[in-house]
């Protein structure tokens, strides 16, 4: 995801602005589930749906809400993937953050929590609350910081290996059950003259996504989570080096090798859509784009599977790498109960189903938010896989601190290019983490 690498760079520069801005002396605010909602006044929201095809979603939901509650006016600030970062930083620094604002999980969201800018929603959205029961538990948990819940997940995202069914049939391979079988399938596909996996690693985050999923398989979850925190990180689990060695084997046997560092992710997705490659590791929100009526690879020929775990994996083999994206509520807001009420309306099943279906195609985090009648069947099936996952492994480059994330990004690119060994990559990551620990 392009976004995650950007987040790293921006987060590095903005951690200070987000947390230690003029509002660093703020007090923590806890949402009260029994607070009375006053349906009057203006509620402002900073969304990340500024894109042409997404922007009508919040506009329509706001209109419906205003119709239900005539005293309320919703003011939308809609930004795109890139502009939301600059906008958020400026609004935080000038103490004019709206009542509800968009946040990623990981270190971006943590900055709001550290600066006491996000309302503690544990009592409102926790797993045992009426609202919490309507949302995917793994998605709600992704916004957990210091044991408290701070975010309202709106949609889910996770990584799957998309494959070209006719190409698999032609090479006589089936869906691989283990990582080793995947490598064998690659050999068979290559013999048949097809590029097994198209990988474009120019942006560096695609390699990080592979590594993240393999780490979830090979390293116990508790160890992984400990290592996200530089103060406690050790990075001593043998699963780290094993994962990287597996990834290097995948690069060598399944992709174009070191050349992938010169290919963009967009062109590798296009290679898959043009049926020039047999597999492409993609996010669920890319399914509709990878195979459609306009692409050479048709919807019926598109299949997907979870990146298969290695046979000797010591971590959580039911984990999926992915993260929801969601919204937080401003502690300085004078309308916290109204803001919560509006977000309940946004995540209500009828609105959630609209969000999940085309043209928006953002798989809702609401449990009843998928409608098989209107959605791409592959996306519906993918959502079921996400729901059954035992753990949502956050993107490695957003879960770690910006410095450690930068170390992952650059050293994994070097690993793909053949200029670094798995051990050297881990040494680099450890060094970055130790430097962060010292700074804190």
């Amino acid at each position: 995801m392009k976004r995650s690498s950007h987040v790293v760079a921006v987060a590095a520069a903005s951690a200070l602005a987000l947390s230690a801005g003029p509002g660093s002396a703020r007090e923590a605010v806890v949402a009260d589930p029994n607070a009375k909602v006053e349906y009057s006044g203006t509620l402002s929201i900073l969304t990340k749906f500024g894109l042409q095809q997404l922007s009508p979603y919040f506009v329509n939901v706001a209109k419906e809400y205003e119709k239900l509650h005539p005293g309320v006016k919703i003011e939308l600030i809609q930004e795109s993937d890139d502009s939301v970062k600059g906008k958020t930083k400026t609004l935080v620094a000038s103490n004019s953050l709206p009542d509800i604002y968009f946040s990623w999980t990981g270190s971006w969201g943590e900055n709001f929590v550290r600066g006491n800018r996000a309302v503690d929603l544990t009592k409102v959205v926790g797993p045992d609350t009426p609202w919490g029961k309507t949302l995917s538990p793994a998605a709600v948990k992704a916004f957990e910081y210091n044991g408290k819940l701070y975010g309202i997940p709106l949609y889910l995202d996770a990584k799957f290996m998309g494959y070209n069914k006719p190409a698999f049939e032609k090479a006589g391979v089936g869906v691989p059950a283990t990582f080793e079988k995947l490598l064998e399938a690659c050999d068979a596909l290559r013999k048949g003259g097809t590029t097994p996996i198209s990988l474009g690693n120019k942006e560096a985050w695609p390699a990080v996504h592979y590594a993240g999923q393999l780490l979830a398989y090979n390293v116990p979850t508790a160890t992984l989570e400990r290592d996200f925190d530089p103060a406690r990180a050790k990075f001593d689990d043998p699963g780290y080096v094993a994962s990287l060695a597996q990834f290097k084997a995948l690069v060598d046997r399944c992709t174009d090798g070191a050349a992938v560092n010169g290919t963009s992710y967009a062109s590798s997705l296009q290679a898959f859509s043009n049926a020039d490659s047999a597999m492409y590791y993609q996010e669920i929100i890319e399914f509709d784009q990878a195979a459609s009526a306009d692409t050479k690879l048709k919807g019926a020929d598109f299949g997907f599977f979870r990146l298969p775990p290695p046979a000797a994996a010591k971590g959580d083999v039911k984990a999926i790498e992915g993260a929801p994206e969601g919204y937080m509520i401003n502690t300085a807001s004078k309308k916290i109960p109204l803001a919560i009420d509006f977000m309940k309306f946004v995540t209500a099943p009828e609105n959630a189903r609209v969000l999940s279906a085309p043209p928006y195609g953002q798989p809702s985090a609401a449990i009843d938010g998928a409608s098989e009648a209107t959605m791409n069947p592959a996306v519906v099936a993918g959502l079921k896989d996400i729901a059954s996952a035992s753990y949502l492994m956050p993107w490695l480059d957003t879960a770690n601190t910006p410095r450690v994330a930068a170390a992952w990004l650059s050293s994994l690119q070097a690993l793909v290019g053949g200029t670094m060994t798995p051990e050297a990559v881990m040494a680099e990551v450890k060094k970055a983490s130790a430097a962060d620990a010292k700074r804190k």
């Binding site: 500024g50 600030i77 809609q78 993937d81 890139d82 502009s83 609004l91 000038s94 062109s267 859509s273």
Partner: protein, 286 residues
């Protein structure tokens, strides 16, 4: 071609002059290609689709359908162009009028401590827009101008007045004072001297200033991104980024949108090339 000179017998051509000229021509052609090719490539990609753009990036389009251009226009580019036009024209007029009036005052009137005032006005050139961002957000929010056309018009004017004043003042200094004196003797007021004598005489530099301002306001990104939100108020540079999605981008439409947005500037450039070059030269030389 060099004509046969007196030192050469008739019919004999100076070989070195021909070689030098050929090299010069070749260099200019290469430079032309370097500048024009990306623009032509961008316009051509507007006629392709994603698979052609990635599969055969340098080939000519398979067909010449305007569908992508129409889609780009309807997908918001129309709005972005309108907003950019409003902001550019309004801020252009404000900037040039304020600057010309300021420059007139600074060159033609007697005032105490004039060098300090000149320094104060031109000191605005030193202020980086990025540094002023946060106070400006607070200020415009308290004035109720945040997320309006006025936010951009005021900011673009404020940040361009120093540079434009600098150019116009330099030009006005060279205008003979006899003209003002003659007009005053004929009974013209100071306002009339400005509007009827000095302003018409400054036409070349004013056109240069307008062009430089258009170039700035049309391409400005930071202020437009921070001070506006939503498709209704976005200018072209910000709007173009909202056509590009992380996933599911139709690059052909993006190229078409980029071509449409570049078109007005390219047309203005060719129409007013002379003033462009003068504007740049004045900026550097003075």
């Amino acid at each position: 071609m060099s004509a046969p000179s007196a030192s050469h017998p008739a019919g004999q051509v100076n070989v070195w002059a021909v070689v030098a000229r050929t090299f010069l021509l070749a260099l200019l052609v290469c430079l032309g290609i370097v500048v024009l090719y990306p623009l032509i490539w961008m316009a051509l990609n507007g006629f392709k689709d994603n698979s052609q753009i990635f599969g055969d990036p340098f080939a000519l389009p398979a067909g010449w359908s305007w569908a992508n251009y129409v889609q780009a226009w309807n997908q918001g580019v129309r709005n972005y162009v309108t907003v950019s036009l409003i902001v550019t024209v309004a801020s252009g007029i404000c900037t040039v009028l304020i600057s010309a009036w300021t420059a007139f005052g600074l060159t033609r009137s007697r005032m105490p401590m004039k060098p300090i005032v000149v320094g104060f006005v031109l000191g605005g050139l030193m202020l980086s827009p990025t540094v002023a961002l946060i106070p400006l957000v607070k200020m415009l929010q308290s004035m109720g101008l945040y997320n309006t056309y006025w936010a951009l018009i005021i900011l673009y004017t404020a940040f361009r007045v120093p540079f434009t004043t600098f150019l116009i003042r330099a030009y006005m200094l060279d205008l003979p004072r006899d003209l003002d004196e003659a007009a005053t003797m004929d009974g013209a007021s100071e306002g009339q001297v400005f509007w009827r004598i000095i302003l018409p005489l400054c036409r070349p530099i004013i056109i240069s200033c307008v062009i430089l301002h258009v170039l700035f306001a049309w391409n400005e990104y930071l202020f437009a991104m921070i001070f506006t939100s939503g498709a209704d108020l976005q200018t072209l540079p910000v709007g173009l980024t909202s056509i590009m999605a992380r996933h599911g981008t139709n690059y052909a439409v993006v190229f078409a949108a980029m071509t449409i947005s570049a078109l007005p500037i390219v047309v203005i450039f060719f129409a007013a090339q002379r003033y462009f070059i003068r504007g740049l030269a004045e900026g550097i030389g003075k």
